[in-house]
Every structure is written in C-alpha cells, then in structure tokens.
C-alpha cells in the first residue's frame, strides 16, 4: 500500500490536469485555454460580468499574477484578441524607426522581472495626451494583435480610449 501511495497520488495529479482544457487537446491548446481563462476570469466563477467590467482586470491581482498573465499574453496573444484588459503600471515611451511606442511596465513581486504592455490611444492623439515618463498609470483597453510592414512578427497592444487612461 505504501508503495502504491505515490502512484495513487500521481493518478490524482493526472486527473487534475483534466480540469478545464487539456494542454494538448488542439493545434493551439494555449488559445483554447487562454480563451476559456479569459471568459472564466470575466465571469468570476459565479456572477456574470457587469457591462463595464473588463474581461481581464489586472488591477485586482497580485504582482506575481499580473506578471504571469502578461507573460501568457506574449506567449499566446491571439487568445486574448478582442478582450478588454485593465492594467496599472509604470508608463514609458520608446522611439521606433517610424513611430513612438507607448508602454506600461508591470513587474513581479520581487521586481526583478518586468514586462512591457504596449498601448495606443484611439483617435488623433499626441505626446501631450500620454502620461509623464515614469508615472504610474491605469488604463482599460481592448487587446489587439498587429503586424508591421515588412516584419512577420505578431505584436500585441491595448487600444485605449483616452478617457480610460488615468494616473493611478
């Protein structure tokens, strides 16, 4: 019996992996998992989301979870396409060859790992519409993926209504 105990536990652990989507159940398992996660996150297990609540609210999560969710967005951006995301972080901009990129940086709890989440304001906007460099900001935007001319890499960003961008 003692020797079977680890085996029984393993069976239980394997059964636990069957909860939700199987990691290898489709060609894009992460997509299915992340989609269901986004829907589950917005549903909050029992109550349906209110109309103005974001699908993914990173401001209600701990630092480790925020970092992990943003990492998942980089691993499988297509799964988050079209979802509203609310995030708080430190604002930075970076000049590119053709345009300027705007980011909110989020860190894990130890602050040794950071991820940048790009965003862009809807409509006509200039640098004066964005926060000051290094300032803390909160924004709610729609997750979208895009490619740039001559670059096959799939990027992602949040498209934000200027009214949904505010200092934290």
């Amino acid at each position: 019996m003692k020797q079977l105990l680890p085996g029984l536990f393993l069976a239980g652990a394997l059964a636990l992996t069957g909860c939700g989507s199987s990691p290898a159940s489709s060609a894009a398992p992460g997509s299915q998992d992340a989609e269901s996660a986004g829907q589950d996150a917005s549903s909050n297990a029992q109550t349906p989301p209110k109309e103005n609540e974001p699908d993914v609210d990173l401001t209600q999560m701990g630092a480790n979870m925020v970092y992990a969710v943003v990492c998942q967005m980089t691993l499988d951006p297509a799964a988050y396409e079209g979802q509203t995301v609310k995030v708080a972080g430190e604002y930075y901009s970076a000049p590119g060859p053709q345009k300027t990129y705007y980011f909110l940086y989020v860190s894990d709890a130890a602050a040794c790992c950071s991820q940048g989440l790009e965003f862009v304001l809807e409509g006509e906007s200039g640098p004066e519409d964005y926060p000051k460099e290094g300032a803390q900001a909160v924004l709610t935007g729609t997750f979208e993926t895009y490619t740039e001319e001559g670059d096959p890499t799939l990027y992602f960003r949040l498209r934000v209504n200027p009214e949904d961008l505010s200092p934290s």
Binding site: K2, Q3, L5, P6, G7, F9, L10, A13, L14, L16, T17, C19, G20, S21, P23, A24, P29, G30, D33, A34, S36, A37, D40, A41, S43, N44, A45, Q60, M61, G62, A63, N64, M65, Y67, A68, V69, C71, Q72, L75, D108, A109, A110, C112, C113, S114
Partner: protein
C-alpha cells in the same frame, strides 16, 4: 480570499503551476530520502549550479531548447559525482564544492559577456530564485515535466527494494548481485532530471530545500525507510502546494515561500518529536 483563489485558478497556467509544482515536490522528496541517507544532501546545490552554468551556455549559444544542453550536462555531472566512490582522488564534498562554484561563476560570466538579453539581472534572478518561472510554463513545458516526473516515480516504484539495499548497505548490495553500480548510475540520472525540473519551481539556489527538508522532517517523526519515504512525499507535496498558493495570493517569491513553509513544518516536526520523546 476564496473568490480571489477561484479567479486565479480559472487561469490554466495557475493549474499547470500547481500540478507541475506538486509533481516536482513529489519527485524530489522521493530522491531526497536516499540522498540524505547516503550523505549527499548537498548534491542538489552542486547539480543545480552546474545546470545554471549549462543554462547560461545554452542561452549564449541561442539553442532552440535549453534542455538540449542542460539535461545531458547535469546528468553527466551527477554520474561523475555519485559514482566517484571512496577511491576517488577528489572526495564527494570537495568535488561538489568545486563544480558548484565553478559552474556558477562561469555561467554568470558567460551571461554578462555574451548575452543579448535586455534584462540580464531579471533573467539571472529568475533562474537563481525561481521567482515566477513556475507561472509562465507553456503546455509543452508542462508535458515535459509530467513525463519526467512519471519516469522518476515509476523508477522508485519499480526499484524500491534495490534502492533500499543500496542506500543502507551498498557493499552488501554489490555482494548480493543487486546491480548496485547500475542502480547508482540510474539514481544519478534521476537526480539530475529532478534537479533540472525543480529549478523551474524554486530556482537554482533553493533546490536543495526540496531534497533535504521533506526527508529530514519525516525522519524526525518516523523510523522505517518506507514510512519515512511516504511521509516525505506527503510533507513535500503539502508544503509545496501551500507555499505556491500562499505566494500567488500574497505576491511573494514562489521559491522562497515554499522553503519557508518547509522550515516551519520542520520546526513543528522537531517540536512534535521532542514531545513524543524522540531525539
């Protein structure tokens, strides 16, 4: 708090982290009992530092998968360390110390000189302390961890009696023709695989805790090899699960949180042992 936990567990990567974390804890505790009894408690530190060095080399070489280099190098080192025996010129603890610090220094130097990462400190910090790497596993990582963990557990289930013999009386095991040499080789390979896996959970610097604490805690409470092994598994799994959930809720580093839970449970076991009259 329950609502927050339910929200977090609605994300598949959190479920993956818990499953992989528990399997790693189970595998390392099985290994730990034998290693602690054979006086190789520090092998986890040594091998994890060698794995860090190999990981650094793999990063600099820009390999498609780090495992191509990390696992073979760590296995080879484990074989060299655990099979050196009593006639080796360099005894076990000195060899571990030399390889450990050497690999750590060489790895860090390689990363500083050749790495193109924009956040070198963050990458090193994550590898050394396993801050949030367990929460950023891809499905492929999960399946790889699952496969390796299954192999480790099957190894212990199948070879339980031989492992018992080799642990307590290797000379007798050799004389009885139990294949002690081959078994030691297998234990070395399993140790390397477990340590490479465990780096995802607690990082290079804290891997020894997964190996040492469950075995020592169980030994405070029980005496027979089988009971200690089972107890070590249960203690390791429960502590790793508690530490992982605590770190997710409280936003503390995962590796350090798990080790702190191990420490608390070990102290509690010492107290219970003292109350029960065991020394």
């Amino acid at each position: 708090m329950l609502e927050t936990l339910a929200l977090y567990f609605s994300y598949p990567f959190v479920r993956y982290a818990l499953v992989v974390g528990l399997l790693i804890a189970l595998s390392s505790s099985l290994l730990g009992v034998s290693l602690v009894l054979k006086r190789f408690s520090f092998i986890g530190d040594g091998l994890s530092h060698v794995a860090f060095g190999a990981l650094a080399a793999a990063t600099v070489l820009d390999l498609a998968s780090d495992m191509i280099l990390v696992l073979p190098v760590t296995v080879l080192t484990a074989v060299l360390l655990l099979r050196s025996g009593q006639n080796a010129r360099l005894k076990g603890d000195a060899a571990i110390a030399m390889l450990s610090v050497g690999a750590l220094a060489v790895g860090y130097l390689l990363l500083n000189v050749f790495s193109k990462s924009s956040n070198l400190s963050g990458d090193v910090c994550t590898t050394l302390f396993g801050a949030t790497s367990i929460l950023t596993l891809t499905p492929a990582d999960v399946w790889a961890c699952l496969g390796l963990s299954v192999l480790v557990i099957l190894f212990f289930l199948v070879f339980y009696h031989r492992i018992f013999a080799v642990t307590f009386d290797e000379t007798f095991a050799r004389a009885a023709g139990l294949g002690a040499g081959r078994l030691n080789l297998l234990i070395a390979c399993v140790a390397a695989a477990v340590i490479v896996l465990a780096m995802n959970l607690v990082g290079s610097l804290l891997v020894s805790a997964l190996i040492v604490f469950p075995a020592l805690t169980a030994m405070r409470l029980f005496k027979s090899f089988g009971t200690v092994t089972v107890a070590a598994c249960l203690i390791s799994v429960l502590c790793a699960g508690a530490g992982l959930i605590f770190s997710i809720l409280a936003s503390t580093p995962v590796g350090a949180s798990i080790v702190c839970v191990y420490i608390l449970v070990f102290l509690a076991a010492c107290g219970l042992a003292r109350l029960g009259g065991r020394t």
